[in-house]
């Protein structure tokens, strides 16, 4: 099957045109559908009149969370949040398995990439100054999620990034800071387990799974729920921060192998399958 170049073009042009047509038609259909939707932010739309009013009216009273978004995310739909935490955890586990284990098993050298250290005095000083603030800001975002935008996910990412920045700037040869892959994984697991643990605790005290109101923390139900929500957010925080560290540690483990291979003078070509 080695057609003449001219024919090649013609033949291969057809699927491209087909693909473009299909996606254009899809886009057209979507646009037609979207035009039929209620307008964004329309106060008379079903989205604004059916379920939302109750959240608006009762969220603060029922969950104690000043931030309505937090109330929906961590309490009314806390199960979804648990699921999303699990999604992130799954991504971390997946990277760990695919990048670290599979690569190690096959003795593959990872593609050339982050082979150079970033270190420079300027970066070093900047990082020293910034990192504590980043970490502290992360905790702030977590705790303040109740009243303003923020929460466990955002805080966790910030926290994890803060740890990663140090590693990026100072390199492996600097002082060990932040968790290695195993410890990061432990953190992530602990976060997910803590979330589930709160759910199970609620069950143990006679409620439904994740029914924070039954937890024996004293005070009225809204207050208990607020505290539990904070606990859940902290769990998410730990899970996300741990996952970010897992991701970085996994990738940098590949870097280390490359570096080790270079320093040993091994001339194995990149990408050769063992």
């Amino acid at each position: 099957m080695s057609p003449a170049p001219g024919k090649t073009r013609l033949r291969h042009g057809v699927p491209r045109i087909l693909g473009a047509l299909a996606f254009a038609a899809l886009l057209g259909g979507l646009v037609a559908g979207i035009r039929d939707l209620p307008r964004l932010g329309d106060p008379a739309s079903p989205a604004a009149t059916h379920v939302s009013p109750r959240f608006i009216e009762a969220a603060a009273r029922e969950t104690g969370a000043a931030n309505m978004v937090t109330a929906v995310l961590a309490d009314y739909r806390g199960y979804d949040t648990l699921g999303e935490t699990a999604v992130i955890f799954a991504a971390g586990l997946g990277c760990l398995i695919i990048l670290a284990l599979a690569a190690a098993d096959r003795r593959e050298t990872p593609p050339p990439g982050l082979t150079h250290r970033f270190g420079s005095p300027i970066l070093d000083v900047s990082a020293r100054v910034l990192t504590p603030w980043i970490l502290m800001f992360a905790l702030y975002v977590l705790i303040h999620g109740h009243v303003s935008p923020g929460g466990g996910f955002q805080g966790g990412v910030l926290f994890g990034s803060g740890l990663v920045v140090v590693r990026l700037v100072r390199g492996r040869r600097g002082p060990a800071f932040g968790p290695g892959p195993r410890a990061a994984l432990v953190l992530a697991c602990a976060g997910v387990l803590a979330f589930l643990g709160i759910g199970f605790l609620a069950m143990a005290f006679g409620g439904e799974f994740l029914d924070y109101g039954t937890l024996p923390l004293g005070g009225d139900e809204a207050h208990v729920r607020e505290l539990a929500t904070l606990g859940v957010e902290a769990a998410v925080f730990a899970a996300v921060a741990g996952t970010v560290c897992v991701l970085f540690a996994t990738i940098s483990a590949g870097v280390r192998e490359t570096e080790a291979a270079r320093s040993a003078g091994s001339a194995s070509p990149p990408g050769s399958d063992g």
């Binding site: 057609p3 090649t8 033949r11 291969h12 699927p15 087909l18 057209g28 259909g29 037609a32």
Partner: protein, 572 residues
């Protein structure tokens, strides 16, 4: 309601199937033991005259009748059990474990089919029979048996599917679950009839028989000759008594088989054509539908199983002893295998309808029924087929195989189980020939028929003698040629196969093109331009068809499907 398992005690088929499974699954010494045990147990219960009981169970809202022992079922059960025993004796040394297992399961399924009282059970064992017989063919062990077995399986898979659909429609249309004569001529009638016609080898659906039976082992073909077609005859008797369409079909069968047998060179294929021919008598009998004709069909099936098994044993012995399977390689071996020759001749005169042998007392039932039903042409053509039967099985085959010019073919001594089995079969053919009432009293229809009248004897003998004259007149012209006769199987060996393989080749030719197209969709213009600039397209192995770029198509199809649906729905 829980199934009642008590019926298993009374079910000869269950013993044979269980014995077959046991022999098939457990180490080699087991087959003989389980063969003896299961056949013995089956035979004991047959000899106990099969209690006329119904055993039922409910499965998936079906009221199943596993076991219905009325006269018609018992008749077939008895002869199936007998021939299973003969086959086991015959194959005692020759059959390997798997073959014995397949044969026993095959026999057991055939018995279970005729004992089945409801459609579901009937179908289950009908299919079981098809699979077990396919295994039996495959165990012939040659490349040809492998291919023939696959063709056989496909044929019966289609037949089974037709039967399945027919039963489904029958039940869905509110038909009774019991296997009984079908009323009305809707789709179920024709579907089930076609399915049964496949198994009964009614032309043009017969070619699996002559294709596959000669490719099994010698012992395997003894079993094959007995069960599938005769179970179909049972089904016709049970389901389609008096279906007029069967009369012309049956007549065509009798003559078709005879004509092709005259041309045939392969010993077992010749006998296979005579199965087609003889089953044609039974089909005609079923189609005539008078009590005498139906009784004749049942009786002829009974006789036919015995003498056809004997003939296949004889042919098998010939092949085992000489190593040749074609008439043109054989000749003049009768001095070296006198007993086997004699027993083959017993089978040959039985099938030809000589007086004192069982073909005489059963075939004439059908012919007389045709006469009584005032169907002179039917009678005439059936008589013509009888003439042809004697010509090829009674004269041509023994002449060129056992007598005729001695080609000095070396003959190995055969183990004694083979003559024993043939002796028993020959004795039974003779016994039923001289004591026909033993057969008649087992028939489910009351008949008053005397075979040994002077008229009958004289006309039969005249026919046979006239045929004999002609044979010796043209015997040289009848010398089998080393040729293969084209039958309808030419269709799928030739054009159909070519079409399929051409289509496959065409599709495979398309694969690289599709491959390239996919690649372009996914990798986009850059890679494509570069390749075009280099003036070559990377060759793509067809095996990689599924691997490379199918995700692009998946997403393309998803987008296209969504787009089409949206366009349609938005407009609506």
């Amino acid at each position: 309601m829980t199934p009642s398992w008590e019926f298993l005690i009374y079910h000869p088929g269950a013993y044979l199937i269980a014995g077959g499974l046991w022999a098939g699954l457990f180490p080699s010494y087991a087959w003989a033991t389980s063969g003896v045990f299961s056949f013995g147990a089956a035979a004991v219960f047959v000899l106990r005259r099969l209690p006329n009981l119904d055993f039922t169970a409910s499965v998936a809202d079906f009221h199943l009748i596993w076991y219905r022992g009325d006269a018609l079922s018992v008749l077939f059960t008895v002869v199936f059990t007998v021939v299973a025993g003969l086959g086991l004796i015959y194959g005692w040394y020759r059959m390997r474990r798997g073959e014995a297992a397949a044969a026993m399961i095959y026999a057991g399924c055939a018995i279970a089919t005729v004992l089945a009282g409801d459609w579901v059970t009937f179908f289950v064992f009908w299919e079981g029979m098809a699979i077990a017989s396919t295994a039996l063919i495959w165990l012939g062990g040659t490349e040809q048996s492998r291919r023939a077995g696959m063709r056989y399986l496909l044929f019966h898979a289609v037949g089974g599917a037709l039967l399945f659909v027919g039963i489904l429609l029958h039940l869905a249309g509110g038909g009774p679950i019991e296997v009984a004569a079908l009323t009305g001529t809707g789709p179920p009638f024709w579907l089930i009839l076609t399915a049964v016609a496949v198994n009964a080898a009614i032309p043009p659906l017969h070619a699996w028989l002559t294709d596959a039976y000669p490719e099994a082992s010698t012992a395997g073909s003894v079993f094959l000759s007995a069960f599938t077609t005769k179970t179909a005859v049972y089904a016709l008797l049970r389901i389609f008594p008096g279906a007029e369409v069967l009369v012309p079909l049956g007549i065509v069968m009798t003559l078709y088989g005879v004509v092709f047998a005259i041309l045939e060179n392969d010993v077992r294929r010749l006998l296979g054509y005579h199965i087609v021919s003889q089953v044609g008598y039974m089909v005609t009998g079923v189609g005539l539908g008078t009590p005498l004709a139906l009784a004749g069909a049942a009786a002829h099936a009974y006789s036919h199983i015995l003498y056809k098994a004997l003939l296949f044993m004889g042919a098998g012995a010939l092949i085992e002893a000489t190593g040749f399977r074609r008439l043109s390689d054989l000749g003049g071996v009768w001095r070296r295998m006198r007993f086997m020759t004699a027993m083959y001749l017993v089978g040959a005169v039985s099938i030809s309808g000589w007086p004192l042998f069982n073909g005489f007392v059963s075939k004439s039932l059908i012919v007389s029924a045709a006469a009584e039903a005032h169907a002179p042409w039917t009678e005439l053509l059936l008589t013509l087929a009888a003439v042809g039967t004697f010509l090829s099985v009674g004269l041509k085959l023994p002449w060129f195989a056992f007598f005729g010019a001695d080609r000095g073919v070396a003959v190995r001594k055969l183990p004694s189980n083979i003559p024993i089995a043939m002796g028993i079969a020959g004795f039974l053919c003779f016994a039923y020939g001289v004591l026909p009432f033993m057969l008649y009293r087992m028939l489910p229809w009351e008949i008053d028929y005397r075979p040994f009248t002077f008229d009958h004897l004289s006309s039969s003998l005249q026919l046979l003698v006239g045929t004999g004259f002609l044979f010796f007149l043209v015997v040289r012209k009848l010398t089998p040629a080393e040729k293969r006769t084209l039958d309808v199987d030419w269709l799928w060996r030739g054009p159909l196969r070519g079409a399929v393989s051409d289509a496959g080749r065409a599709l495979r030719g398309l694969a690289p093109a599709a491959q390239e197209a996919r690649r372009w969709v996914v990798t986009g213009i850059d890679a494509g331009l570069r390749r075009a600039a280099a003036g070559r397209a990377a060759p793509v192995a067809p095996a990689a068809l599924n691997f490379r770029d199918s995700i692009g198509w998946t997403i393309f199809f998803a987008a296209a499907a969504a787009a089409i649906l949206l366009v349609i729905l938005d407009r609506a």
